[in-house]
Amino acid sequence: MIDYSVVLFRSPNQSIWAARLLKKAGIERRMMPAPRNLTSDCGYCVRIRSIDLERVREVLEKGGVEFLCIEKLA
């Protein structure tokens, strides 16, 4: 079983930006609806592999994308 995490954003615009940056950096990611228990937003979140967590953080911070938090997916 792969261990996944999700990155949560304030807006779908930010999450799409993030997904593109991660793709460019060659990091496996998938956009999916944000789980209800993690956010009350109606948009997306970006699912990543937990082992990529530090790289993801780095890419997003370097790219200037604001994210709310990164949570482990149960």
Partner: protein, 394 residues
């Protein structure tokens, strides 16, 4: 181009560009037939793909204007909406605004409305010969000057204003600079950071070769966007738990479903221009060449052919002219009816610019060339104008 049997020539690219480049129409079709979702609203593939298309357009616009953060591109339905957002969003009762005597109605009308309705005051700096008099502009500033609105390139005469000089002046005077780039985006290289422009408005359907119904605002990376009040409020796909408008870009200004089909086409249009060798510079030199060729040739061959601004100031492929003794509307009508040549006559929504140049209220005939026009088409048009110049009235 064929239309109902006769070959047509399109010289009205300043109104909206035609034809669109390869890829722009296909991008709209692709959105309508394959993508199909509401950008940023749901987690399924159609919505995600639509969101990606819109984001890609933001990146393209940001690259074109020299802005780093693509979220600083606010998409609107045309340049007019973008200009209204900036003007009405920034000015408050009691404020003073400075503008130029070459403005399009899409900037001067919101300003005059706010003068009448909200008690702002407006000073119009003169533009002798078409270019703004920078000393007069400087003298127009008052302690309460909050906003300076400048038409970057005139839709009526193709004159380009010295944005960099004006930008420096605004920085010194601590006023916000809004540039109306409806006629310059995609035609003249623009770098809003270098020129100290705070906000730029663009039309997507002119020099950027997208469909009608596209346009927007570009907010410079270091401008405090909270100084702009939103023009509309509503659903954004973000902060859905709140009944208040989000306070971050671009959502704060983008309520309601975006024109994703049009924006997909706009993205392809801009990417086409960026893909040309030398990008926007290639467009500009092509348009300059066409305008120069037309002015020379018509000047030699067409009796009574008159232009109104110095040839070296016409920098965007827009040429306003008249034929002595002929009504502009009559010339345009004959060009269209007899020769299949489409252009625009009259005041071009810019009565102020025509007053400045001395062509009010009669107006001019305007040819505005696009990237797909050719010298051969100009030869045909000059031939047609030669005929019209010597014809009697009907």
């Amino acid at each position: 181009m064929e239309q109902s049997g006769i070959k047509t020539i399109y010289f009205d690219n300043a109104a909206t560009s035609f034809p669109k480049p390869p890829g722009a129409v296909e991008a709209v079709i692709d959105y309508m037939t394959r993508v199909g979702g509401n950008p940023g609203r749901s987690g399924h593939a159609r919505s995600v793909d639509a969101g990606e298309a819109v984001f890609s357009a933001r990146e393209a616009v940001a690259a074109l204007f020299g802005v780093k953060n693509p979220m600083r591109v606010v998409l609107c339905s045309n340049a007019t909406e973008a200009l209204n957002l900036a003007i009405q969003g920034i000015l408050r009762p009691g404020d003073h605004a400075v503008t130029t005597a070459m403005e399009h109605n899409s900037t001067i009308r919101p300003l005059m409305e706010m003068e009448r309705r909200d008690g702002i005051s407006v000073t119009v700096a003169p533009c002798p010969g078409g270019r703004v008099d920078c000393e007069e502009l400087l003298r127009s500033f008052r302690p309460k000057t909050r906003l300076v609105v400048v038409n970057h390139a005139s839709n009526a005469f193709g004159v380009v204003q010295p944005l960099g000089d004006i930008g420096m002046m605004c920085r010194e005077k601590k006023a916000v600079l809004l540039a109306d780039c409806a006629q310059s985006a995609g035609i003249i290289p623009i770098d809003i950071k270098r020129d100290a422009v705070d906000i730029a408005a663009f039309a997507g359907h002119k020099g950027l070769y997208g469909p009608t119904g596209t346009g927007g605002l570009v907010i410079s990376d270091d401008f405090d966007f909270r100084l702009i009040r939103p023009l509309k409020f509503g659903g954004t796909g973000s902060n859905s738990d709140s009944t208040y408008q989000p306070d971050f870009l671009p959502d704060i200004f983008e309520s309601g479903t975006l024109n994703a089909a049009g924006i997909s086409g706009l993205n392809a249009g801009i990417r086409y221009i960026l893909s040309l060798q030398d990008g926007v510079r290639t467009v500009q030199s092509h348009k300059r060449d066409l305008a120069g060729y037309f002015i020379r040739k018509a000047g030699e061959c067409v009796e009574g052919f008159t232009t109104y601004v110095a040839a070296e100031l016409m920098d965007t492929g827009v040429v306003s002219f008249n034929i002595e003794g002929k009504e502009p509307s009559e010339v345009a009508w004959r060009l269209a009816e007899r020769h299949g040549i489409m252009c625009r006559s009259g005041l071009h929504c810019a009565p102020l610019a025509h007053r400045t140049i001395g062509t009010f209220p009669g107006g001019t005939v305007r040819f505005s060339f696009g990237i797909f026009n050719t010298p051969e088409e100009i030869d045909i048009a000059v031939g047609a104008l030669q005929e019209i110049a010597v014809e009697g009235g009907e």
